[in-house]
């Protein structure tokens, strides 16, 4: 059985981390599979949205420490595997949803934060984890977490690593939406379907704009936005959107 399952249905590529016996802890193999899936498979034009989720009891418990048992480890070189996965998620110009139930801990939480949206089941629990074993958060958490919850909250979560339940995560903006465990699958499917029927090219441009915004001045952003809008303005979906508006009907977006 593969450590990463992938299924494409109606524009929705669902990637399921599949090591349920270890709450889907990352191994080098899984990280390579993830990089490849986000870099190649997800880039195919028929994919309109990606859902990242875990098999079994939880989302992902982070790096599998057993992988390193009895080995001398260079974190620096091991983290290259994470860099590729995170960069491919962030650079993919399509919406990526993290669908989180159960534990999202350590680097598992980092990867959830690299996604564009987080939908959580009521039983979801977040923990940064790293500092509990004397490490700093990695896999991009120090970039994404303060941008989502602010510096003070990010420091609190990273340094103290307490368990954050779904409702608290929602209150601090760490997740976009919390749904009951029973309705989790259907809520994820609904959100994914809504995004899959959206103007995909435009979503990609929004992602590019937000990414740039993290290191741009207002003047630079205004300039770049104008150019991106020029691109959006030429999409088929923009024409369709305007047409549908005039005809007072829902738009049918092809994603281009």
């Amino acid at each position: 059985m593969s450590v990463l399952l992938s299924e494409l249905q109606e524009g929705i590529l669902t990637l399921t981390m599949n090591r349920p016996e270890a709450i889907n802890a990352f191994t080098t193999e899984m990280l390579r599979e993830l990089s490849k899936a986000f870099g190649k498979e997800a880039a195919q034009p028929e994919v309109r949205v990606v859902v990242l989720r875990g098999a079994g009891r939880g989302f992902c418990s982070g790096q599998d420490l057993r992988e390193f048992e009895g080995k001398t480890l260079s974190y620096k070189s091991h983290l290259r595997n994470y860099q590729a996965a995170v960069e491919n998620i962030v650079n993919l110009e399509k919406p990526v949803i993290a669908a989180i139930h159960g534990a999202a801990a350590g680097a598992g939480m980092s990867l959830a934060l690299a996604c564009d949206l987080r939908i959580a089941a009521a039983d979801a629990v977040f923990a940064t984890g790293f500092s509990k074993i004397g490490l700093i958060p990695d896999a991009g958490m120090n970039y994404h977490l303060p941008r989502i919850v602010g510096h003070a909250k990010a420091f609190e979560l990273e340094a103290l690593s307490r368990r954050i339940k779904a409702e608290e995560a929602l209150a601090m903006g760490l997740v976009n939406q919390v749904v009951s465990a029973e309705s989790f699958d259907s809520a994820v499917a609904q959100l994914a379907a809504e995004l899959a029927q959206g103007p995909t090219k435009t979503f990609g441009l929004i992602k590019r704009a937000l990414r740039r915004s993290a290191s741009a001045t207002l003047e630079e952003m205004l300039e770049y936005e104008a150019l991106l809008q020029e691109v959006a303005g030429r999409t088929e979906d923009h024409k369709e959107g305007v047409q549908a508006f005039y005809e007072k009907r829902p738009p049918r977006y092809g994603g281009k």
Binding site: R208, R212, S215, Y224, L227, L228, E230, V231
Partner: protein, 256 residues
Amino acid sequence: MYENILVETHGRVGLVRLNRPKQLNALNTATLSELAAAISELEQDPQIGAMVITGNARAFAAGADIAEFQQTTLAELMKGLRADQYEVLRKVRKPLIAAVSGFAYGGGCELAMICDLIVASDTAKFAQPEINLGIIPGGGGTQRLTRQVGKYLAMEMVLGGRVLSAWEALRHGLVNKVVPVELFLEEALDLAQTIAGRAPLATRLAKDAVNRAQDLSLENGLGLERSNFLIAFGSEDKAEGTTAFVEKRRPEWKGR
């Protein structure tokens, strides 16, 4: 007719597209010769005020043609054909603009730096990785890169193979602007069109003065600027430009 490039005119702008997509526009000697010939022809064309050199979205030019280099002997290289083509491009008097997307590696990065302005797509990447082949940059890479980004970053690129993203290149002053990949050629052509609409004589004198600033002491540079300024001052276009300004109308340049 050319085999490795495409030449187009857009109003007063001459556009040369490197057209070896399968080889990522690797600059073999034939391509460089065609490029130099096409640019020289546009240089002589009175209808043309500026030139743009581009590749495609995936690659501006991914360096020299390594397979050709492998077969080239020192004696052949010493005939200086490649160096001569670079010299032709360097000595062009009309403004040259590089529209760079994707790979600008090795000879591609050097070609971009020969140009007077660089418009980069947000996917552009710049590198001088020749050291990996047991050689060094031979088209001005060590000299122009160092003048542009400074000694330490140049060393990192030339010795360490560091790749600069478009935004990094912007931060280090290696490109004029970064625009969405969908628009990079259009934006470069727009810029070229604006520049091609300026007084031709003054444009050449200005380009000459800025380029010479790299080589001259301030004393000599100011002397050269003074001479170029006096030449411009004696032109018919100076009379037309100042008169049009006073009469609040658009000038009509004569190029005299």
